[in-house]
Symmetry: C2
Subunit: 364 residues, 2 copies
C-alpha cells in the first residue's frame, strides 16, 4: 500500500523538498494568484504586483540573516555553478590570484572554473582523524599574500563534511553556502560574498542568491557577461533581464514560512536535533556507519553505509515503499545519503530512524 502524501519524506540532496505548507499555498494560488486571474508566473516582472513579491522576498531574507545595509542582495539566474565563474570575474580586480580552500567535490569544482580566470592558490584542507574524514583547522590554512579573496565551501553535500570555522584572513571571504544558508545563524558581516543555489534551503532550482558587500562591486572584469555582473544586477535590482520570477516567488514563500517557524535561530535548533537523532542512532548501531569525524559532520547531508553493502538495493527499495524517498548516496561514494534541509521535519527523520531500526532487526 502506498503511503499518503502527508507521510512521504523526501531526502533528495537537491533539487530538494520544499516546505509542505509552501507547496500547498502555491498550488492553491497557481492559476489565480492575488485575485489577478492569472498565475504569478504570467505577469510582468516590472508590474507593481511582482515588484512587491520581489521586495518582500529581499526584506524577509535580510531579516532572517540580519544582513547589514552595506550588503546587496541579488537574485540571479544560473545556480551556484554560474558563480564559480562569476566570483573571479567580479572580484579579481587587478589581482591575478585567489585562494581556494579545498575540502571536497564542490570546492574542487569551483577551483576548476576559477583557473580559467586566475592563478588558483589551492589549500588542501582534507585530512583524517582516527581514520575518519575531517578538515584541517582553519588556524592552519595558508593564504597567499597576493590573493584577491579566499573562497571556501563550508558544506560538502556529497561527502557530508561541514566546516564550522571561517578562514582567518583580512581578505574578502567568499563562501558557497548552497547547502547551509538559512540552516544556522551566520554573521554576514564576516563575509565579502555569500552565494547559494536555491534548490536546497531556499526554493526550486533555477535561482541563486548572492549577498555581496557593496565595496566589492567596483572590481568587475570588462569581459564579464552582464547577467553575471554583481554591479549591473545591484544597479538594476536583479532585473537587468527578466528574472526567474516563479522561483523568486517560491523563495519568498519559503522565507515567510521560515519566519513563521521562528526564524534561523529556531530552525537551527531543530536542525541540530534532527542531525543528532540520526547520527546518534548510526553511532549506536553496528549495522550502519558514517565515515566522517564528529568535528566535521554535516547537519544537512548525512551519508551512511550498511555493514552489509550487498543489502543496499533492498534497503533503498523498501525505504522508497515506506515513503522515504531519494536516499541513494551520490554515485561517487555509494551507500546512502539523507539530506535533511530545513524543509525536512523532525518527524521525517524519526520515520527514517524507525525504518532503519526495523531494517536492522530484520537483517542484522
Amino acid at each position: 500500500m502506498e503511503p499518503k502524501v502527508e507521510n512521504i519524506y523526501n531526502f533528495s540532496a537537491g533539487p530538494a523538498a520544499l516546505p509542505k505548507p509552501v507547496m500547498k499555498q502555491a498550488q492553491a494560488d497557481f492559476i489565480d494568484w492575488n485575485g489577478l486571474g492569472t498565475s504569478v508566473m504570467e505577469i510582468s516582472h516590472r508590474s507593481k504586483e511582482f515588484i512587491k513579491v520581489a521586495d518582500e522576498a529581499e526584506q524577509d531574507l535580510r531579516d532572517l540573516l540580519n544582513i547589514p545595509d552595506n550588503y546587496k542582495v541579488l537574485f540571479c539566474h544560473g545556480g551556484a555553478r554560474a558563480q564559480f565563474a562569476a566570483v573571479p570575474m567580479n572580484l579579481l580586480g587587478q589581482s591575478k590570484k585567489a585562494t581556494y580552500i579545498d575540502a571536497g567535490y564542490w570546492a574542487e569544482s569551483a577551483v576548476n572554473e576559477a583557473e580559467k580566470y586566475c592563478e588558483v592558490d589551492a589549500f588542501d584542507a582534507k585530512t583524517t582523524i582516527d581514520g575518519k574524514a575531517a578538515v584541517i583547522p582553519a588556524s592552519e590554512w595558508k593564504v597567499a599574500a597576493d590573493s584577491a579573496y579566499v573562497h571556501f565551501c563550508p558544506n560538502e553535500t556529497i561527502d557530508g563534511i561541514e566546516i564550522n570555522e571561517l578562514p582567518q584572513t583580512d581578505k574578502p571571504i567568499v563562501a558557497d553556502l548552497s547547502s547551509t544558508i538559512l540552516s544556522r545563524q551566520i554573521d554576514v558581516s564576516k563575509y565579502g560574498v555569500i552565494y547559494a543555489g536555491a534548490q536546497k534551503n531556499i526554493g526550486p532550482a533555477g535561482i541563486c542568491i548572492v549577498i555581496v558587500r557593496d565595496d566589492l562591486l567596483e572590481l568587475a572584469s570588462e569581459a564579464l557577461p552582464s547577467v553575471l555582473s554583481y554591479k549591473v544586477l545591484a544597479e538594476k535590482d536583479s532585473m537587468f533581464n527578466t528574472p526567474p520570477t516563479y522561483a523568486w516567488y517560491l523563495s519568498g514563500l519559503v522565507f515567510k514560512w521560515l519566519k513563521e517557524q521562528g526564524g534561523v535561530e529556531a530552525i537551527e535548533h531543530i536542525n541540530r536535533e534532527k542531525a543528532e537523532l540520526l547520527y546518534n542512532y548510526i553511532d549506536e548501531s553496528d549495522f550502519y556507519k558514517n565515515d566522517v569525524h564528529t568535528n566535521n559532520r554535516s547537519r544537512m547531508n548525512v551519508p551512511f553505509q550498511l555493514a552489509k553493502p550487498e543489502l543496499d538495493a533492498q534497503f533503498l527499495e523498501l525505504a522508497d515503499k515506506a515513503g522515504l524517498k531519494s536516499l541513494k548516496g551520490h554515485r561517487a561514494v555509494g551507500g546512502m545519503r539523507a539530506s535533511i534541509y530545513n524543509a525536512m521535519s523532525l518527524e521525517g527523520v524519526q520515520a527514517l530512524v524507525d525504518f532503519m531500526k526495523a531494517f536492522e532487526k530484520d537483517n542484522a
Copy 2:
C-alpha cells in the same frame, strides 16, 4: 463584477500567459506528480523520472520544429540576455568581428553586449515607408567579409516590428527568436544558432532554449563561463549544473499542448487569424492606429495608440476591469500593446476587439 478566470485574457509581453490547459494540469500535479508523492521540482534532475521529462521535452521540440540531427538542443539558465554574451563568446573563434542587423531595441541590446567581446559591424536596418516604421529589405543588408556570424532579431517586441526574411549570407545566421519561436514555421537548417527566452512562447521565465549546429561547438573562447558554453552543455545534455527543472517541465507540457493543437503549422494559421482580426479592426477605425508598415507588422506584439491619448489611462482601467490584462505599451513608446503569443486564443483577441469597439463607440 470581476470576470471569471476563464474569461480573463492576459496580453502580457512577457512573462506571458501560458496555455490554460497546461496551467490546470500543472496545478493538479503540483504536490503529487507522477504518483511520487512530491512535486517534479523536488526530485533530482538525474533521477530517471526527470530524465524522461527532459528527453521528451527535447524530442517534442525537435518534432515541432523539424530540427535536423546535426543540431543540438540546449536548455539553458539565464534568459536570452545571457545569450547576448554567450553568442560572441561561443562563436567568434579566431575572428574579431561580427555583423549585427539592427531593427530595434533588442537588436541594439545584443550589440551593446557583443561590443565587450568583438568589433561589431552594425547595419541599421530601420527605415520608414509612407511615414510608417519598416525594415530595409534583406537584399540590401551589408555584411562585413571578415565577420564570424550575422546576428538578427526578427521580432522586436516593443515596437511591434517583424522581419520576414533571412540575412543573405554564407556566414552562420544567429537569431534571437524569443518572441517568434514556435509561432510560425521556420527552416532550422538555415540557421547557425537559434535562441529564445522561454517567457513568451515556451514556458515561464528562467529558461532559454538554444539550438546550435554542431560544427559551431568548437569555437568557444577559453574565458567562457562553463554555464554559457554550448560545447559543455551539449556534452552534458544541459545538465552541467542543476538545470531549472520546473521551467523545463512546464516547457515540456507546452510542447505537448502545441502538438495537440496540430503543431506549428496549425498554430501559425491561428496566429495569422488573430493578427489579421486585430490589425484589420485598427486599420478600419479612425479611433485607433498602429504605426508599423504592413510589410513589417508583428504577428506576436501589436502596439496601438488612441487618437485621443488623454484617454489611455481610462482605456487601460476599463480593459482591466473587463478581464483584458496587461495592455499597457512599453514605457519607451507609450500607448497600448497586445501581445498575442501562442497561448492567446482567437476568442481572447475577439474579446479585445469587442471591447475596443465599445470603447470607441462611447468615446469617439
